[in-house]
């Protein structure tokens, strides 16, 4: 449950980072998040779609229908603005995580 709450707070960063690897549709994205986190990050899979639509409306993602391999899928990918935003959020995350580590484990 604690992991689920943490995931909710950082979902945008995780989506942007996963899509930086390669463009993907919703299901592949959920699988990628689950795989990359070693199964730690699980959330109701459907909640990824409202976030994807919001990021698209904010201009950070773009999407198109694809009929490859006989299935009709909506593929999402980062825009140039999305890439810049990812860089900014990665920097923020690094500072935040470093500060938490320093407090939790001490300066030693």
């Amino acid at each position: 449950m604690a992991e689920r709450e943490a995931l909710k707070g950082h979902l945008d960063l995780l989506i942007l980072a996963a899509l930086d690897e390669r463009p993907a549709h919703g299901y592949a994205l959920v699988e990628a998040l689950r795989g990359a986190s070693g199964g730690v990050f699980t959330l109701p899979e459907g909640t990824i779609y409202p976030a994807l639509h919001r990021l698209e409306r904010s201009g950070l993602l773009t999407s198109r229908w694809s009929d490859e391999s006989g299935r009709r899928r909506r593929i999402y990918e980062l825009t140039a603005r999305g890439r810049r935003e990812l860089g900014r959020r990665r920097g923020e995350w690094r500072r935040f995580a470093g500060a938490v580590e320093a407090v939790v484990w001490g300066a030693a």
Partner: protein
């Protein structure tokens, strides 16, 4: 099993508009890829939860658009009013004065709330709707020039559409009062607002403790400012012999303005979240 789930999701997504069809197509593909069985649906999450997240995200965006559209409309009507030669005729003048005040307060309050981060969506939509309605009424009463109408009407149509679309996703308003706005201000400028709060507290006018006293105080101050303003713009600064008459005139205008401000507060205060609505007070 999937079809039944999609039908439920379709029902829950009312008000979302044209995005609904695309979302359903994506969900259908996702569920099929995940196995298309009960387990796939369980992992996807309850239709109510997914729909609520979607409506929340879309609703915030629409409320923001509604505020921008209504402020643009208010500004356009204000600019068109200045071009109107009939503005000084008595009925038009009274309507202009009252409606302009409603527009100024509601549009200003709503835009300020948006900028301060008061995310009470229902209140943003109510404020936008009131500002847009007042602006359109003013425009209709004034019957401004065709050129002004041609400029303002498209903005008006856009504002009405924006408010109507946002209202469909607005949801219920929680109890809210001026104290919440002050708390938002306090986050923005802690020291100066603390100073103001302290001053209001010493004068026993803090809206969180003495709401009606504060409202009367604001109404009287606004009335006095308007009275002095009218006096100065109409005849310049009075000489010593004109002073008693000028003071009497100012007091008459000030009291009329104060009554108008209080009437607006009584009629619209609960609706706009300037004081707790009647129902929420009863529930407490």
């Amino acid at each position: 099993v999937i079809d039944e789930y999609l039908r439920e999701l379709y029902r829950e997504l009312r008000g979302v508009g044209r995005r609904r069809r695309r979302l359903l197509a994506e969900v259908r593909e996702h569920l099929l890829e995940a196995g298309g069985d009960e387990d796939a649906i369980r992992r996807f999450g309850p239709a109510k939860l997914i729909a609520r997240r979607f409506r929340d995200e879309l609703g915030d965006e629409r409320a923001r658009t509604a505020v921008f559209a209504s402020v643009a409309l208010a500004a356009a009507v204000g600019a068109a009013s200045l071009l109107n030669p009939r503005l000084n005729e008595a009925p038009a003048s009274i309507a202009w004065t009252l409606l302009a005040q409603v527009i100024f307060v509601t549009a200003g309050l709503t835009a300020a709330r948006l900028l301060l981060g008061v995310r009470e969506r229902a209140l943003l939509v109510r404020g936008s709707g009131t500002a847009a309605t007042a602006a359109l009424t003013l425009l209709a009463l004034e019957s401004a020039s065709w050129i002004a109408l041609a400029v303002v009407l498209p903005v008006g149509v856009l504002a009405v559409l924006a408010v109507a679309r946002a209202a469909r996703l607005a949801g219920a308003s929680h109890p809210h009062d001026l104290g919440d706005d002050l708390a938002a201000l306090q986050r923005l400028a802690p020291q100066s607002i603390a100073l103001l709060s302290g001053l209001l507290g010493r004068l026993r006018l803090d809206p969180r403790a003495h709401l009606w006293r504060f409202a009367v105080g604001v109404a009287v101050c606004a009335g006095l400012a308007a009275g002095v303003g009218h006096g100065v713009t109409d005849g310049g600064l009075p000489t010593l012999s004109q002073l008693p008459l000028a003071v009497a005139g100012t007091l008459i205008i000030a009291s009329m303005e104060a009554v108008a401000a209080l009437a607006g507060y009584v009629l619209l205060g609960g609706f706009l979240g300037l004081r707790p609505a009647y129902q929420s007070r009863v529930r407490r």
